[in-house]
Symmetry: C2
Amino acid sequence: MKDDAKSRKTALTEHLKASILTLRLQPGSDLDEAHLSDAFGLSRTPLREVFRQLAGEGYLDLRTNRSARVTEMSYTTLRDFFLAAPMVYGAILQLAAQNATRTQIDELKEAQQAFKAALRSGSGEDRALANNRFHDVTGEMSGNVYLLPSFNRLLIDHARIGMTFYRPQTTSISDNLSMASQQHDAIIAAIEAGDEAAAAQLAEDHWNLSRDQIELFVMPDALDAPMGIAPLSKPA
Amino acid sequence: MKDDAKSRKTALTEHLKASILTLRLQPGSDLDEAHLSDAFGLSRTPLREVFRQLAGEGYLDLRTNRSARVTEMSYTTLRDFFLAAPMVYGAILQLAAQNATRTQIDELKEAQQAFKAALRSGSGEDRALANNRFHDVTGEMSGNVYLLPSFNRLLIDHARIGMTFYRPQTTSISDNLSMASQQHDAIIAAIEAGDEAAAAQLAEDHWNLSRDQIELFVMPDALDAPMGIAPLSKPA
DNA sequence: CGATTTTTTAATGTATACAAGTTGTATTTT
DNA sequence: AAAATACAACTTGTATACATTAAAAAATCG
């Protein structure tokens, strides 16, 4: 394994991305240039270039004369998220069904194998990263440069929302994840068959499952209440 | 007017953006760090940070050990463009109708005034930039961080496509532009009234107008041909 | 004693020098 | 003469030193 400057730069990039997706670096955290530059054997110049790139992709926020911060996530953005996600992902999957190559389909199957392995024996972080990888491949398949920027931005908060709400190991969440895994399998089948309509429908189903799970977590008592209208409230 | 490093940095950013949107810097052009750094009184370090940022926003492509390039535009991307644009812009305008503030509505009206002025007496570049500004404000109004990355990416190529296909001063294009201006007025009205459905419909109409205009330009003979099926062909 | 100003400290932003890589050209070899 | 190779000029990537700005601490004044 090489250890030149370029390798260290990509290592830093991947480390930051994974840390942010898994919430090891929490939203709003400050990043210390000196510390990171020391830890990865890079001077501040290439480090700051990595910051700028990650900021462009939505991982970080840069403020002049202040330290870089992990992009915030407020509960008001949940609404924006579940409005945009099904729409963008529906289009992405539709295009994936149109354009996926044999190689990409194999990559997707590998990603799904890894996801299943993470479900059986992995940590929450493993699950989040494996799931992220699966969806990332579908994005590559679509090949639409105009949709990918938003799609990749969505995937960042998808992972972070997952880490927030799928953490406790309850039965309902376990059921939910196995359902998600089944949907992944169906997505693969639809893409392999080139069935655009099915792919688009599966996208909607997949995000509805996520949304339902989160609503269940945010307002668990709503189930017992007699048809009560339960607005989104900020959890502890 | 200040002339500190920060000002020169934003000046460079704006210069590059405008140059790329108006095709003064053509797709695929190489950028010379030394020359730009000299021209704007900046050292290469902040200049390269600007490059990284613009690459993140979709203006530039960075390749290791090679010069930065203006993002390419192939004719195969027209299809991707007109698939993504109505969808994303429909959502953006719907949200704009929901969330626009008084201040933003005033900004939008100003942008539309500037656009009309550019139609009367401005150059093609003026029109493209003024139109870009109008749509940019609608993006700000939506306030949805998940849709904005793709929307802003779309606006880049919207301006460039406009510069490509709206250049010759024919009657049909003149008619088309005044129609676009009328649609802008209707968009403002829908947003001001908070009419989401109307806003979404106008988004679709607006992009259909663009698409029709381009098809007219790409295959002008199709009109005379008796029901001929005219596939997109590469113009000279 | 509290508020405000000054001083100190530490971080970010920029410039420059140097290292590594790429491209074009000329020379050599077949 | 064509291809391959070696060299030179130039471009990009990185490190470090310096400048600038913000935050923190200390000192002064009301």
